[in-house]
């Protein structure tokens, strides 16, 4: 075995790591390990000078393997792989040791954390010895895009693509485009009539030659990988479409919170109580009446219905405060003499022009009352003194127990993830958070991509959002997609399974465990073969293989077993040091 020349780099991450891990000690210790040519530590390895240092060292010391002990590989593996590539080294000759997220940030004892860092880095060093150069695979990108969801986000994405001359399939579950936005009369904060805007948008989408709208349809299956997806779409009348596409945009939107769950508000009990969705419908028709058909004199708008409360949804639905102010303005115009009460928790009017709307609304004789949305919610009950209901609660800004009479109560219901989010997440291989919203690749710097390359999440299916933010996200996804289409090709992961035909006994066990049908049987040679295009590199087959003929590139048994050795060797070495 030829001599390995390993370079080890330990990152301080400012004080993020250095505060809890003695990085200097770690690098000093690593220098002693076999194969290690040099071990250095530096304030920010990921910075320009940090990467430069690695590149220079590779060239100067002829390093052939690099270990970077820094943050999670999920964040910077790509960064350092690029650095290796720049230095002329195969990018897969890198192994990272996660000493921040899984060490310095979660432990409180500096000695222990340092010890743990040493064993993690030692394991990485042992592992990297077995790394092999892998060749990147470049695939062509299909120029079409699948967009799931025909709301504002989906339509905006489709149009943006269409304007760039790129085709998309716009799949909508219901029988019309427009989603939630199509139900609105006015937008906030400028209270513009949006009915025309949205219908124009729909018209543009329908007219576009580059957009194929499929209504009453759901995606049944998606296969493939970035640039090369194919899927099946089925409509309610059993029509089936088989489509090919290079990228997927998930824009399935939201569903509103079920107001019936709020036990204090008596949504099913009182004909005075309606939801914001129902109110939008009323106001679109221009007639505001309660379910008894009576024009209300006292109207209460209750914020945070189903939001910011542990018994319902813990999160904030982001748009309800502004919608509630919009309603107050609409009501004031329709019913100039009505008493309007806004019952809020925190007034979250944060967007541009929103605080200004709050101010101008407060000039319109609207009574703002604050309640505690985390403690006892307001209680709606029959009014003994009048016809309607009365809302009882402790008003926080005055500390008074008060009663608000109402003959119309509008519950500002929050946003929830769609029921079918789970099936969509399955289809497209993206994850959901505990609230059922899709998880983006990175909450800051990659708010629309997902961990699955070529699949993007936009709009309210990612988290509650207003229209402009949804549109922004939709277009952001388009930027990413256009870039891949324009380049025409994209690099894909090469960490697929590999079958050593010499060892394979032809039991075909691997074929039955593969969820992608990537393995097939070559009857002529009596062995299994892997289709690298279909294989996603999960490694299940490698583990299942009774003869050890299958290995997963970059996650070989050898690599993992030596990683375990390294991990434990350091533990014991230190333990023995201590006992002696």
């Amino acid at each position: 075995m030829e001599e390995k020349r390993i370079g080890v780099y330990v990152c301080w991450c400012g004080t993020n790591i250095a505060m809890m891990v003695d990085v200097k000690d770690v690098s000093k210790e690593m220098e002693k390990l076999p194969g290690v040519v040099l071990a250095k530590n530096y304030k920010y390895m990921c910075s320009d000078p940090g990467q430069d240092m690695i590149i220079k060292d590779i060239k100067k010391y002829n390093l052939d393997r690099i270990v970077v002990a820094a943050c999670s590989p999920r964040i910077h593996e790509i960064t350092f792989r690029n650095a290796l590539e720049n230095a002329g080294l195969n990018p897969y000759m890198l192994q990272m040791a996660n000493i921040s997220e899984q060490d310095s940030w979660v432990h409180t004892d500096r000695i222990e954390a340092t010890r743990k860092a040493k064993s993690l880095v030692a394991a990485a060093i042992r592992r990297v010895i077995h790394h092999k150069p892998l060749k990147k695979r470049i695939v062509n990108v299909h120029p079409n895009t699948l967009i799931i969801g025909g709301g504002v986000a989906g339509m905006s994405a489709a149009l943006e693509l269409s304007e760039a001359g790129k085709k998309s399939f716009l799949i909508e579950k219901s029988d019309q485009l427009g989603g939630t936005a199509a139900k609105l009369k006015l937008s906030f904060p400028y209270l513009n009539d949006v009915v025309n805007d949205i219908s124009n948008l729909i018209k543009r989408v329908e007219k576009s030659e580059h957009i194929q709208v499929i209504l009453n349809a759901e995606v049944q299956e998606i296969h493939g990988f970035i640039g090369n997806f194919n899927g099946i779409v089925k409509t309610t009348d059993e029509k089936e479409y088989s489509i090919e596409f290079g990228n997927t945009i998930v824009a399935t939107g939201l569903k509103s919170f079920d107001a019936g769950k709020l036990k204090n508000y008596g949504y099913w009990k009182y004909s005075e109580v309606i939801t914001s969705i129902e109110f939008e419908l009323l106001v679109k028709q221009g007639v505001v009446v309660n379910k008894k058909g009576i024009v209300p004199e006292n109207i209460a708008i209750i914020h945070c219905a189903g939001s910011r409360n542990e018994n319902y949804n813990n999160y904030c639905s982001r748009t309800c405060c502004m919608s509630a102010l919009k309603y107050a303005n609409q009501l004031r115009n329709l019913l100039p003499d009505a008493n309007i009460f806004e019952m809020y928790a925190d007034m979250r009017t944060f967007g541009r022009g929103c605080e200004e709307l709050y101010t101008s609304t407060s000039r319109k004789g609207i009574m703002f009352l604050m309640f505690d949305q985390r403690a006892e919610l307001p209680l709606i009950k029959e009014d003994e003194r009048g016809n309607g209901v009365v809302i009882e609660f402790k008003e926080l800004l005055s500390g008074e127990e008060i009663q608000v009479p109402a003959d119309l109560v509008i519950l500002m219901v929050g946003m929830e993830a769609h029921e079918n989010a789970k099936s969509v997440s399955h289809l497209s291989g993206i994850s959901m958070d505990s609230n059922g919203f899709f998880i983006e690749k990175h909450p800051k710097l990659d708010p629309v991509a997902t961990t699955t390359d070529g699949v993007y999440v936009v709009g309210s299916c990612q988290a509650p959002k207003d229209i402009p933010d949804s549109v922004s996200q939709a277009k952001a996804a388009v930027a990413r997609i256009l870039a891949t289409i324009l380049r025409g090709t994209v690099e894909v992961e090469v960490t697929t399974a590999e079958i050593n035909a010499d060892i394979c006994c032809g039991c075909q066990f691997c074929i039955s465990v593969c969820p992608y049908g990537a393995n097939s049987f070559d009857a002529a040679n009596d062995v299994s073969v892997v289709n690298e295009v279909l294989c996603k590199g999960c490694g299940t087959c490698a583990t299942a293989c009774p003869s050890g003929a299958i290995s997963t590139k970059h996650f070989t048994d050898e690599q993992i077993l030596s990683q375990i050795e390294g991990l434990m060797a350091k533990v014991h070495e230190l333990e023995e040091l201590e006992t002696n």
Partner: protein
């Protein structure tokens, strides 16, 4: 959970009602708490102005009616200047003082005067007319008035009236004074009792021990004389100006009501005589203050002078007229201009009397009494509150 009857019902119409007593964008307040925190007079137990704004916005009339807070405010304007929403909390306190004055007044006249300028003008006109008529008819100018000049050339003011001896004339005017004082005082005292009832007796949450009434009594006198609370405001010049006005006015009031026979005398006393010095001090104090206030109200700056209620102008004009006629009267008298002195005297009284009768029990001047009483009452309440609650140094986690 409180029962149905425990909870108070909100009243959205009340805010419109209060707009009659002063103008402000009170509904715009979003309750940041800046005004209360910036006010040096606001303290635990008596937090304002934000609390009052909230009560107003919610239309909790009962709670407002029983609150002392508006009287504790001297309207330095800091709250309004720094209000992030231009909601004008200071002006609300002003409006509330007007409103409370009408609530304390059992005759209902105050409400008429505050909510209708016409009523106030009419009342002033009637009283003025009564004064003028009673002079022209019952106390007409002596036919040989020209002789009524003393050796120093000054008009002998008490001898101007036909058929009435100088001594009797002074006594007549003094009786008039007393009558006025009794009516005005009576009304004021009953109103103060009304205030006491609403703020202390009706408040079942505090039980004030009798000893506290004696222990805190000095507060009443002390605050009346010194306006000490006002001096805690950051703008001390406001306090000085106000003190100048208040002392000037009070001095004149006491002289006229209590010491008239020593004041309204035939001979012209030397310049350094106490009565002339006091008179000049009062005149100067009032004029100085009036000058500034008129200038500021016209400019609508500072913020405290931005909004002028009709009652403000009426008060300023009446006080100005009283002072000016007083000065002119003084000049005419020294110059020996007999007829001019007589008619100016009538005009002087025709302004002074309605001003006192209307302003003191029903309108702006009543705060002269309400303020020190409010402070006194607040101290009574605080004395009981402090025994009850222990203040925590650090705020609790919410």
């Amino acid at each position: 959970m409180g029962g149905l009857t425990m909870n108070t019902r909100v009243n959205p119409d009340f805010e419109k009602e209060l707009q009659k007593y002063g103008k402000g964008n009170w509904n715009e307040c979003f309750h940041c708490g800046n005004c209360t925190a910036i006010c040096p007079l606001s303290e635990d137990g008596f937090l304002f102005p934000r609390n009052s704004i909230r009560t107003l916005q919610m239309g909790l009339e009962k709670k407002l009616e029983t609150s002392i807070e508006p009287w504790l405010c001297y309207y330095c304007g800091d709250c309004s200047e720094t209000c992030p929403r231009d909601a004008n909390p200071g002006e609300l306190m002003m409006a509330l003082r007007r409103y409370l004055t009408t609530r304390y007044d059992w005759t209902g006249l105050s409400k008429k005067f505050y909510t209708s300028a016409v009523w106030e003008y009419a009342a002033i006109a009637i009283i003025a007319l009564l004064v003028i008529v009673s002079f022209l008819v019952f106390l007409p100018l002596r036919p040989d008035a020209a002789l009524m000049v003393n050796e120093s050339g000054g008009v002998m003011i008490n001898s101007l009236v036909a058929g009435v001896s100088p001594d009797r004339f002074v006594t007549l005017i003094e009786y008039g004074d007393w009558l006025m004082a009794v009516i005005v005082g009576g009304l004021l005292i009953t109103n103060i009792f009304n205030m006491y009832y609403k703020t202390i007796i009706a408040d079942k949450t505090v039980k004030i021990p009798l000893s506290a009434y004696f222990k805190e009594f000095w507060q009443l006198i002390y605050n009346f004389v010194t306006q000490a609370s006002f001096s805690k405001c950051e703008k001390r010049s406001y306090w000085l100006g106000h003190l100048l006005l208040m002392t000037g006015y009070t001095i004149m009031f006491i002289i006229v009501v209590v010491f008239l026979p020593y004041f309204q005398i035939e001979e012209v006393v030397p310049v350094w005589h106490w009565q002339r010095l006091l008179g000049y001090y009062a005149t100067f104090g009032i004029l100085f203050f009036l000058g500034i206030v008129i200038f500021q109200r016209l400019r609508k700056n500072p913020i405290t002078m931005k909004f002028s209620h009709a009652s403000d102008w009426i008060f300023i004009i009446m006080l100005a007229l009283t002072t000016l006629t007083g000065i002119i009267l003084h000049i005419f008298r020294l110059a020996g201009m007999v007829e001019a002195t007589y008619y100016t005297y009538i005009i002087h009284l025709a302004v002074l009397v309605p001003m006192i009768v209307i302003e003191v029990p029903f309108s702006k001047w009543s705060h002269l009494a309400y303020r020190p009483f409010a402070i006194y009452f607040s101290k009574l309440k605080l004395a009981t509150l402090k025994e009850k609650s222990v203040r925590k140094l650090a705020p609790a986690i919410s």
